[in-house]
Symmetry: C2
Subunit: 660 residues, 2 copies
């Protein structure tokens, strides 16, 4: 059976793509692949396909197109391959200054190289380490501070750890030197020395290290006696309420297709609820993590976790009974290695149901009778480990037509050395000799809507006081909503104090109850956006992170908020371009980009591993249905839920006491 | 055994209180009780008591003091009783204009009276209703629009419903007349006629009603075939991880005392984590719900759900297997009836554990080994039904020292009549002939802190850009925090774009890791506050709702944000007074009042019963512990959690494919 156009790239497609590319070059060329994945089908073609599929008609043929990012020597290329017909469409050498995503194999090789590299080892020797202490290196995204730099560079941050345990927390003891290497050639570029005081001065002389107080998180090492905890088991004795067919999920009136990929972790396509279309494509589009320590080389700490590394490529292999409870379905992610061979990362996406408390309740105080429904949720989850940090990305569906983007940040802070008894006001000491600089996490979510069809309009509503002292509002208590239509691409500023709410409406479909256009609302808390100055590289590279809500007009292949190539980029080639085109987005195909940001001021409790910090965006029906669409959810009852009383004697006779 | 000073009021104490009061008046007096409960013990005495209790020393004697609100004829009184020694301390007639909380029995009696009252029935007769349609009345808080009104009044909103089913949704068909009665005398005051067009005109002539299209929520009536859903069962085979001793809970390092009461639903006292004090008392303090429809009589729709009615008095009797899952402990609430006799509302507070997803995770990408802990949560929940609306109040504790205030609004919109084919920009049509006006829910939470002791300080931190173009910040990427100390009572404005965060710190205790004072952070989303004009009764009565964060200096008996008596109040006698005193709150005993507000623009989906709208405040340790306090939580494993694979064949061999 032919692959569905939405299906993820297959092993065969990765091999075909790399083979066609390799064949097009001479045998002696050193070709190293950075990323191979399938390209999204053109939307217009895909809409015809989905329409035919729903109608049970003959399906139009859509070629599967793959793309590859690769290096030939030090030159960076992008190629497109028609995997259906097996031919190379194009190979294009990218312009000066364009650098591709990190190559995982090369990073691992570099880590090994450092253990034998004479310059680095000469520096290590000066530390005069005891045998139970080892040096660990985290190769880091280099960032940008020079418009003329176009080598693929790696900033190697160095740490100490316990040599006797593989899970010792090296982030606890950062060293004060940091070699820079060129990735493709493994050439040593420069030794950076790190400031560790309260100013920008860095000591160029590495001295013997004496204090080895490590703050450990691993249960073998952290020294904490386990606290007793009894099991809380989620069981689904009759099985799950969802069905999986290939990559298509049906659950509680929802239908959608979940597809893992290298860059975004996964994307969700063609989302319908109760037979009506809501969203064509939903994904995490980019994330940038700029740090607020301005001292070299920290000023370059600005990772783009999707564009530089990839949420699929850094996806965790999720484990049964560990990362979620109940009955779990897993999807795998297949990426390329540097040679163009497929590499499977098993179970990077998990799908399951969870209880979400009550969905609605009303108790009639006259009769004491209550109508109560619980909120069952369906979760699509991936967890990415981007070196030190973990991100849990959940897309959560409920039974009343709501989609929630739920992000949890956890993992380990990226740390810097700090001298004894020093503190700074741009970072927090999280252990002896270790400081975690303030930083930001700015995630862009791309919502390609399809609210009852593909001609949609973005509007926002503010709530304002009515004019006071009028005949109509004599007691000065009235308020009303004022609607603004977004007809051109651009951004909309947050305005929490006017209760500004963003909606994607379909002006062509009127809700018969409210007499207003059908729509979905984007619920997003007001947040501090990018702090770096507008003229900084940080801001130029991540223009998307300067505002919380963007609107562009749909174009094929415009998927990533900061542009296709972010590693060591000098400028945002995504929203910075697309949001400033002069075109109409009203009653058209607008795309909404929502920036979920948080400024992270580390606290002592965030180390050595950070309790989750949770952030959400809601995508909520607003006049989409004519009434609550979840009235058909079964009532919450004891025969269904099987709860138990806390085992004490006082309760048993409570129901026999006088009732209200 | 003597009652603990924190124990809720007993049946005997209610009877003693009412008896002492009744005995103090002549036999022929008509005394009607509005509220009887115990008063909080004086804090200084209580601190000595708790200290002795922890040290196992002789406990100081603290008298149990009860209070009663009651009417003698039309005069409103407050009395205090020493329940330990059994004597009346004081009875005080309240000043002109002070009105007490609604008397539940009288409201019920009024509902019955209307079914026979000649003026009301004459109006009903004009409707010419068929036999299967009945009239229902919701007696409503009267609100305020006249400084000279001091009668306890009730605005009776009238509706139609299906006479053949007790759970028919009368909010679906509001009538256009609304009688006003005096509660204590049951005297008819006036017939109000309701505007139902797009202006303030109301038709004084009640006409025959012809359209009986009801939008029903009850499963018997809503006409929706049930959607299939399979059970998701939470089991705790080894029992819960919490222990209940009287009203004291111990769980996962936490210790606190949960006490139901008439007004607040419950309060939580003396909260400790890992042996260190965090909060002395935590409670919902007040809630106001003002409506934005300025037309008479709607301009008076401003309920104070705690002060006018009471969250305990309107508490739901929670049902096993319905309102929460797992192993549940319930507490009851005992209120007074109008005669001063105790009335038990069983199971108004439930206590249980729930799974909250992951608490933290880190995967070492070099070894593939992950450290993963799940977040077990402990929930204290109450659900209040204030006529049409339901509020779910959860206080949630986690294993890492965090307390979360979690509020869900559900239930049924308060509705107004609207003529066919009319719409307005201050309300949403939610069915035929029915409109739901825009309104706000503004909840005040009172946090009486005890961060490592009772001398605390409130501060707030803003995150700002460093000066640009300097030697220290040459790339213009630096940012830092700026701290402001709150040394006088007052409010602090929200400032989401500077990432303003509020902290309660103890300046006398320095965190040994960060070298900064220990503290807890108050996480609160920026929200639109009260929309009514500053000169309106709405604003004067609910001054607390004009700002999100208030600080006062602790005084005994200052518990309720809008003051002790809110029903038909003319002015806020709470924060409006306490937050403007000239006194020092630094390194003292500040009390923090957090207003959680949301402007509710009804959508079609909110009717006939509303899917929950969720709002949260976090109370999060910030440099309170020297590292993550949850490193001792057992790892999340399959042997503990017992999850299951989704039953398809594709999964079984996945672990045999090439691993990363």
């Amino acid at each position: 059976m032919a692959a569905h156009p939405f299906d993820p790239i297959s092993d065969a497609e990765i091999r075909l793509t790399s083979k066609l590319i390799k064949n097009s070059y001479g045998k002696d060329q050193r070709i190293r692949f950075s990323q191979i994945d399938r390209q999204d089908p053109p939307k217009q073609d895909m809409l015809r396909y989905l329409e035919a599929e729903k109608a049970g008609k003959t399906l139009p043929q859509i070629s599967r197109i793959t793309y590859a990012f690769y290096y030939v020597g030090k030159d960076f290329y992008k190629a497109l391959v028609n995997a259906t017909y097996g031919h190379l469409i194009t190979t294009q050498k990218q312009g000066k200054g364009v650098v591709g995503p990190m190559i995982g194999d090369d990073v691992a090789a570099l880590e090994h190289l450092l253990t034998i590299h004479p310059i680095v080892q000469a520096e290590v020797k000066k530390l005069n380490l005891p045998p139970h202490i080892k040096v660990v290196c985290d190769p880091w995204i280099y960032g940008t501070d020079d418009d003329n730099e176009d080598r693929l560079l790696v900033q190697c941050y160095m740490y100490l750890a316990n040599a006797n345990h593989p899970e010792s927390n090296h982030y606890s003891l950062p060293l004060k030197f940091s070699p820079v290497f060129e990735s493709l050639t493994n050439e040593f570029v420069r030794m950076d020395y790190l400031p560790a005081g309260t100013d920008a001065t860095s000591l160029q002389d590495t001295e013997p290290w004496t204090d080895f107080s490590l703050v450990e998180y691993h249960p073998d090492l952290n020294g904490e006696p386990l606290r007793p905890l009894k099991p809380l088991v989620v069981q689904q004795p009759e099985g799950p309420s969802f069905n999986v067919d290939g990559h298509k999920i049906t659950w509680q009136g929802w239908e959608f297709t979940v597809v893992p990929n290298s860059r975004e972790g996964f994307a969700i396509y063609d989302i319908h609820f109760k037979g009506r279309s809501v969203i064509y494509r939903l994904s995490l589009s980019e994330m940038t993590v700029p740090y607020g320590d301005p001292r070299a080389p920290y000023h370059r700490k600005q990772a783009f976790d999707l564009g530089d590394a990839g949420f699929g490529a850094t996806g965790n292999s999720l484990k049964l009974g560990c990362d979620c409870l109940g009955v779990i379905k897993y999807f795998d992610c297949t990426i390329t290695d540097s040679k163009g061979e497929p590499r499977l990362i098993p179970s990077t996406v998990c799908l399951h149901e969870q209880d979400g408390g009550l969905l609605y309740k009303h108790m009639n105080y006259r009769t004491g009778s209550a109508v109560t429904a619980r909120r069952r949720e369906f979760v699509v989850q991936t967890i990415a480990t981007v070196a030190n940090y973990e991100y849990l990305l959940n897309i959560i569906f409920d039974q009343a037509g709501e989609v929630r983007i739920h992000v949890r940040a956890t993992g380990i802070l990226s740390t810097m050395p700090i001298e004894k008894d020093k503190t700074v006001n741009w970072g927090t000491n999280v252990g002896p000799l270790v400081m975690a600089a303030y930083h930001q996490h700015l995630l862009s979510f791309r919502i390609d809507p399809a609210v009852d069809g593909y001609n949609n309009t973005v509007v926002y509503d503010d709530v304002e006081r009515m004019p006071t002292g009028t005949d109509f509002n004599p007691y000065n208590v009235g308020f009303f909503t004022k609607r603004t239509v977004v007809d051109k691409p651009g951004y909309v500023e947050q305005s929490p104090f006017t209760n500004r709410s963003y909606k994607i409406i379909n002006e062509n479909v009127i809700n018969q109850t409210t007499k207003r256009p059908v729509g979905y609302k984007i619920l997003m808390p007001a947040r501090q956006m990018l702090l770096a100055d507008d003229d900084s590289f940080n801001a130029k590279r991540a223009h998307f992170a300067t505002q919380q809500l963007w609107v562009t007009k749909y174009q094929d292949n415009e998927l990533y908020a900061a542009g296709e190539f972010t590693n060591q980029s000098h400028v945002d080639t995504g929203l910075k371009e697309w949001a400033y085109r002069k075109e109409n987005v009203r009653n058209s195909n607008p795309v909404v980009w929502a920036t979920l940001g948080f400024t992270h001021i580390p606290r002592a409790e965030d180390f050595p591993v950070m309790p989750v910090e949770t952030h959400e965006i809601g995508i909520v029906p607003h006049d989409f249905f004519e009434k609550n669409p979840a009235l058909d959810v079964p009532q919450s009852t004891q025969s269904f839920n099987k709860s138990a009383y806390y085992p004490d004697s006082s309760k048993s006779d409570s129901c026999c006491k006088t009732a209200l």
